[in-house]
Symmetry: C3
Subunit: 142 residues, 3 copies
Amino acid sequence: MKISARNILKGKVVQVIPGAVNSEIDIALDSGDKIVAIVTEGSVHSLGLAAGKAVIVLIKASSVLVMTDSSGVKLSARNVLSGKISKVSNGPISSEVSITLPGGSEIHATITHDAVDEIHLKEGQPASAVFKASSVILGVPT
Amino acid sequence: MKISARNILKGKVVQVIPGAVNSEIDIALDSGDKIVAIVTEGSVHSLGLAAGKAVIVLIKASSVLVMTDSSGVKLSARNVLSGKISKVSNGPISSEVSITLPGGSEIHATITHDAVDEIHLKEGQPASAVFKASSVILGVPT
Amino acid sequence: MKISARNILKGKVVQVIPGAVNSEIDIALDSGDKIVAIVTEGSVHSLGLAAGKAVIVLIKASSVLVMTDSSGVKLSARNVLSGKISKVSNGPISSEVSITLPGGSEIHATITHDAVDEIHLKEGQPASAVFKASSVILGVPT
C-alpha cells in the first residue's frame, strides 16, 4: 500500500462496540498505546473487524491537534498520544509538527503557523497528539 | 490548557441525544449561537455531559469551510456561524481566513488558496464558517 | 451557493440507513461512482433525504487522502474514487494534488509535501482519492 496518510501505526482490535450505523473499535497499538476508532458498520463487516484482528491505523496529519498542557480541561477526543516534539517545520500558513512517542514512532500533525506561535511550540518540548475517534481510518492486511 | 485548536468557544449543553456509539450534543454558545457536536457515548460519560453543563467547543481550522452565498442549496453541515471576513492570509497552497462574529469572537478557517481565488474572498465581506457536528471536540473544566 | 469546498459532485440518493444519531446515505454520482456519507439524523429530516433525491456532495480537500497502490491492505474508508493525477502543486508544508476521474471531473486533495515525496506522486500516475463517509457534507437544491 502507498497512501498519503502521514501516520500509520500497527495494532490489534481489543473490542468492537456495534451501533446501527457506526461502530466503535478499541485498538491496542504494538507500542502499548490505546486507540479508539469510529468506522461504519459496513466497514466492520467488509474488513472482518473483531477482537484479536491485526489492523493498521491511519490518521491524516491534518486531523491531529497538538496539546502541550492539559491542565484544567478534559477533552472529548478519545485519542491522546504523548511524547516529545522532535521537529517543527514552518510554512507561511501551515506548520508540520512531529511528536516522537516513547516507543520511537513518530506522529505528524499539520496545524496553523499561528497556532505554533501562540502556544510556543518548540523542539524537545513534551506534547500530545490529540485526535478524534472519527478521524481514524483502519486497514487490514489482505 | 494549551492546544493547537485555532477555534475555542465557550457555551453550555442544552440537550444530549444519546445513541449506541455516538451521541449528539446541542450547545448554546455564550455569544448566543448554537453548535451541534457529535462525540462518542464514552466521552458523554467520562466528561459528564448533560443539560446545563459548561463546555468548551474546539474546532480545528482545517475542518471549517467558508461560505459567502448560501442561495439555492441547503447543507447537511449542522454548524453555520455568520459574520464578516476580517483577514485573509495567503500562502502558496493554503490560506487562512478569519471571520469575526457579531459578538466579537473570531473563527479561523484554513482552506486552499485556489478556493480563496475561486469564490473571490476578501476582507470586509459577509461570510459564514461552516463545519460538521463530527468536527467538534468538547472540553469540560476540571 | 459559493463555498470553499474544493470538491463538489452531483448525484442521487440510493438508500438511507437510519440510526439514532447518525444516518448512512448511499449516493450514486452522475459519473457512475458511488459515495457513502454519514450525516446526522437531524440533517436527514431537515434536508428531506430519501431514495431518489438529487444531492450535491461536498468534500473539503483536507479530508482527502491520495493512494497509488492498494495492494496488501483493505481500508475502512468507504469512498475511493480512482483516476489519474493531473496536477501536483507543492508549497513548503502543504501540497495540492488533483486527480482527474474517468468522467472528466477533478478531485482535489491537500496533503503534506513530505507525503508527496515519500510516495513519489507525479502527474500522469494512476491514483485514488480516499475519504471517510463522515467527511462528506451533503447539499440539496432549494
